[in-house]
């Protein structure tokens, strides 16, 4: 589903990703872990084309992200095509980023109605089902500021799911939450993973990684230090960097 080969990315003068390889199969849950500034979020944002890759190859579902290969040249996609690519990938942010001017139901229906041009009634029906799925029935008319962090994040997940994405990206979805609210969001994510959704999760929740992930990638300073089966990687790490990282996190 996602295939990265030698992905490089720099911001003004700073190289954030220095040749990252990553493979995510359909229906798999992949966790990206590592210290802050290691490039986890940047990699995730590249997959959604929120950031442009400088060098290397990044494919989602076999197609290059943001480019089209014709002959021996790469052609940048126009805005319309990029929007279409993004609409098939769901993203959940650390700071929820619910639309403040819209209520819960409108937050969920705005994507399907405006981007996929599904009719409003159908979108509302789906939205209510999704709200039930994330355990938030009856909150339709609330505005984001009236919800707790955990509730907001669950709405954000429902919003992303409403687009029926083939891939879900989570950028530290529980990092901005009170410890007691983390569980409710993780439960929704676990449920999602069981339903067969392909997920890439940037997280500091090692318990979640161990329990749910099919594979774990440890990034440090823009390179993948270690990867593989979560139980093996997280319980008996071989690289000294991961050992010291885990000793601090756990």
């Amino acid at each position: 589903m996602v295939e990265a080969r030698g992905v490089h990315k720099s911001y003004v003068g700073v190289e954030v990703l220095k040749g990252v390889d990553l493979t995510v199969e359909r229906g798999e849950v992949t966790c990206l872990i590592g210290p802050s500034g290691s490039g986890k979020s940047t990699l995730l944002r590249c997959i959604n084309h929120l950031e442009k890759v400088d060098a290397g190859e990044l494919r989602v579902d076999g197609e290059l992200v943001g480019y089209e290969a014709r002959g021996d040249k790469l052609y940048e996609l126009n805005d319309r095509r990029i929007c279409h690519e993004r609409s098939q990938i769901g993203m959940v942010f650390q700071r929820f980023n619910l639309f403040q001017n819209l209520n819960v139901l409108e937050n969920i229906t705005v994507g399907p109605t405006k981007v996929k041009e599904i009719n409003a009634e159908q979108a509302k029906k789906t939205a209510r089902e999704l709200l039930a799925r994330v355990g938030l029935e009856g909150k339709e008319k609330n505005y984001p500021t009236q919800l707790s962090g955990g509730q907001q994040q669950r709405v954000a997940i429902a919003r992303a799911l409403a687009m029926e994405p083939k891939l879900m990206l989570f950028d530290e979805p529980t990092s901005a939450l009170d410890p007691e609210l983390v569980g409710e969001v993780l439960d929704v994510m676990k449920d999602l993973a069981r339903s067969g959704m392909t997920m890439i999760v940037v997280t500091h929740e090692m318990g979640f990684a161990k329990e749910v992930a099919d594979s774990v990638y440890f990034l440090d300073q823009g390179v993948i230090e270690e990867s593989g089966d979560p139980k093996a990687v997280l319980t008996s790490p071989s690289s000294p960097r991961l050992q010291s990282f885990l000793s601090k996190v756990l």
Partner: protein, 336 residues
């Protein structure tokens, strides 16, 4: 309140002596000013002494503020016609300004260099020159461009042409001048609103697959409105008064009408006060509109919307009532 919840302890507030003295002084000044409002003074005092002698001077008194004249001319036909012109100019110029401002702000933030360059130049030019000059320029545009035409550039082949003077009649020139100037200022207001919306909102919208236009239309602009409205109220009220500059184009607005009357009765003070009262009335109505508009766009940004004046009054009355009840010893929810 007390910790036990039953025996009430008397609480003595701090006495603000200085505040009371200050209040007395302010009250005195207000009383003096109010007295001048409703007092009469000798009319043409000096000549009165010379002609009639000291004792007869009391006979000729006039309202210091000329209330009789203000009242007499308040709904004068000319004044009301001028008021309508002022309101029309304000509305049309603001509509032009707001539409231009929004478009220019969006252009300015565009990734397209041509668009942002054009927007920057427009703002630079129209914000950087006096509105007075701009008004005159549109009024006398025929001096620079006597005719406008649609056709093939640098040839004499026209599909359509018209004379500048037929379109830029004084009223239209006034709207063009005021509106274009306003657009330059307003674009900066809109831009500040757009910048104020959290980047995360845009990212979330884009990640759903929305185009830039959709993101702007459904997510960013509605949230920017909250920031844009207060200065917009400012601009409308400011425009209401700036329209008085159109006198240079011989458009008779409220102040123009007042000027005409001054020319007849030689009473500038009361007539200018009359105009000011009308301006105050209109700007008060505009402020009330602004309050409700702000309240509407606070939707979602605040947990509880601000109270309307009527709601606040009800709350105050309830507060006073409950205070009264506590004084009589009836426990209220405050003592639990």
């Amino acid at each position: 309140m007390n910790t036990n919840g039953d025996a009430a302890v008397e609480v003595v507030p701090v006495r603000h002596v200085g505040q009371w003295i200050g209040m007395a002084v302010v009250a005195l000044f207000i009383a003096m000013f109010v007295h001048t409002l409703f007092s009469k003074i000798p009319s043409g005092a000096r000549s009165c002494h010379l002609i009639a002698g000291k004792n007869q001077c009391h006979a000729i008194l006039r309202w210091r503020f000329g209330w009789n004249l203000i009242f007499h001319y308040f709904t004068n036909g000319g004044i009301l016609r001028g008021l309508v012109v002022t309101l029309e100019l304000t509305v049309f110029a603001m509509v032009v300004g707001i539409v231009l401002g929004v478009v220019v702000a969006i252009m300015r933030l565009s990734h397209n260099r041509v668009l942002s360059g054009v927007a920057w130049t427009y703002t630079w030019l129209f914000r950087g020159t006096p509105v007075y000059v701009q008004l005159l320029l549109w009024g006398f545009i025929a001096f620079l461009y006597p005719t406008f035409a649609i056709g093939i550039p640098f040839t004499h082949i026209y599909l359509f042409q018209f004379g500048a003077n037929s379109v830029f009649i004084p009223f239209n020139a006034a709207i063009a001048g005021l509106g274009l100037n306003e657009g330059a200022y307003f674009s900066e207001i809109v831009r500040s609103g757009l910048i104020a919306v959290d980047e995360g909102q845009t990212e979330a919208a884009i990640s759903l697959g929305m185009t830039r236009a959709q993101t702007l239309r459904f997510v960013v602009l509605p949230q920017a409105m909250r920031v844009i409205i207060p200065p917009t109220g400012n601009e409308v009220i400011s425009m209401l008064k700036t329209t008085s500059l159109v006198v240079v184009l011989a458009v008779v607005d409220l102040l123009g009408a007042v000027d005409n009357i001054i020319g007849q009765n030689y009473q500038p003070m009361p007539m200018l006060l009359l105009a000011s009262i009308w301006y105050l009335i209109v700007s008060t109505i505009l402020s009330i509109g602004q309050f409700y508009l702000e309240r509407h766009f606070a939707k979602g940004a605040l947990r509880t919307p601000p109270l309307t004046p009527i709601q606040r009054m009800r709350q105050d009355i309830r507060g006073i009532a409950s205070k009264y009840r506590t004084k009589r010893g009836v426990p209220t929810r405050a003592t639990t």
